[in-house]
Amino acid sequence: MRFGLGGRIAQIVPTLILVSVLVFCLQQLMPGDPALVLAGEERGDPRVVAQIRAELWLDRSLPVQYLHWVGNVAQGNLGYSWRTRQPVSQLVAQKLPVTAQLGVMAFVIAVLIGVPTGVVAAVKRNGPWDYVANAIGLAGLSMPNFWLGIMLILLVSVHLGWLPPSGYVPLSEDVSQSLATTIMPAFVLGNAIAAILMRHTRSAMLSTLDQDYVRTARAKGLSEMWVILRHALRNALIPVVTLGTLELGTLLSGAVLTEQVFSIPGFGKMVVDAVFNRDYPVVQGVVLVTAFLFVVLNLLADILYVLINPRLRRA
């Protein structure tokens, strides 16, 4: 395991370097000269433009610009927002907890829905419950989550008046209000992941239910419930847990739309606002941070896989 882990960590280094190159290249796609944009009304003054260019290292060659940028990133400096002049890292640190709360709640909802339906679908293979679970799973995958959000607002907030349609209250301010403002978006966000978890659980359960140890457990007269929960599900959950961790990308992509629909001031809403304000450093920073998170979580998923699977620990 130790050798494997070292190798695995070494493997993510080139990926992270390439991610940084890709994100740096994004900037080159930008139409027009950033120095002119930043100069604003003073764009007519060549001295101001030249000064901005020198400050941002835009007057150097591309490789030098990249090394300067990546050196800053390595020290936690993601640049400054063109709009608010705040450091991008500070903006990210402010918004990330909001999205993290939404993400954790969404993940809990996804597990609560996805795993039991996957188990039922596998145990009742090819029966009506299997078909119903599959149909719900496919519908969950095909439903654009921003539309599901709009429909829920229409039903739960507009018609029934049970929950606020938008806004956000931090957990530290008022727990019940915070849950009231985030439960609907968390459900919307969790829905797509529930569908994916359901499919994974079903197929993992199908393969464990065929294993010898499950047959042995049944043969010794254990109750079917015990066999399914203690013997089959426990082993089936191993790939499900790691695959679940990898759904972070789905979660972050989904958060962009969900936060927009429910007006939640998180990470996703920050990207969209930055796009409309042409605040390119923020867009760049967000892509870099999400990609970095994804690569690190990928690594954690691998470690988790070994930790929860005793058979791999000895290898």
């Binding site: 080139p14 990926t15 390439l18 991610v19 190159v21 890709l22 994004l26 900037q27 796609l29 930008m30 139409p31 496919l138 519908a139 995958l141 095909s142 439903m143 654009p144 921003f146 539309w147 709009i150 429909m151 607002i153 229409l154 507009v158 349609p165 972070l248 990308g249 789905t250 972050l252 992509s253 989904g254 962009v256 739309l257 927009q260 629909v261 990207v271 969209v272 930055a274 796009v275 409309f276 042409r278 390119y280 867009v283 760049q284 967000v286 892509v287 999400t290 990609a291 970095f292 994804f294 690569v295 990928n298």
Partner: protein, 279 residues
Amino acid sequence: MSAPRRLVVARFLRRPAAVAGLVVIVLFVSVAVLAPLIAPFDPVATSWSAIRKAPSAAHWMGTDENGRDVLSRVVFGARASLLAGVVSVLIAAGIGVPAGLLAGFSGGWIDAVLSRLVDAMLACPFLILAIALTAFLGPDLTNAMIAIGVSTAPRFMRVARAATLEVGSADYVQAAWSIGNPGWRVAVRHVAPNIVPPVLVQATLSLAAAIIAEASLSFLGLGQQPPSPSWGSMLNAAQRFLTQAPWLAVFPGVAIFLCVLSFNLVGDGLRDALDPRGS
């Protein structure tokens, strides 16, 4: 039709859900192609006397905040969605399949470099990468299609590379090598045609994802620009009138859902029909 192909078609046709999906897709494509003949009204014509009217005999899906007929806009919206789906998948396959073929076929450092590049691209969440690309390219439907296509390309590369590695070790490819064919000829004549099935499955499932992505970008205001109709941008506008005109939010969403569901059903059906062992 060759015998194996007939078998695949027969297996596909035995799946009612997949066939239903295919029928719905044909229906959507016909609606998109024949939009000017089917739509009862001009999709961009405003009418101040018919603002936010509920569904009626004259306007089956009601009218929007500018008095435009929602049915006509949903019909024309099919064009934007299907066009975006097809074009972005073509871009993705056009980049990803040759790259995957090259990586799988040549191995060595080319494979290592291309595979790390794919890892790096897949590390950026799909929609966030597409949003960032559209942000830098500028918001319109063409750029949205390019952004979705480029963001989807790594998936095609992975599928094409894996299929190339599998096909490359087959006897008939070894035979093609042994009679002295040049490398490019083995790749193009013998390997490429045989990686089509998994690429086709990936293309169908990617179409579903691309249609959702286009709707998402348009919903955020980064895709199709008003007044041109698109399901995503219609939902964006509908959000402002949820209490006064809920129908505005229902129909475009149903259209996206049905369209995406159909492509997913056909994709699943195709995968099972092409690889009966996997199912």
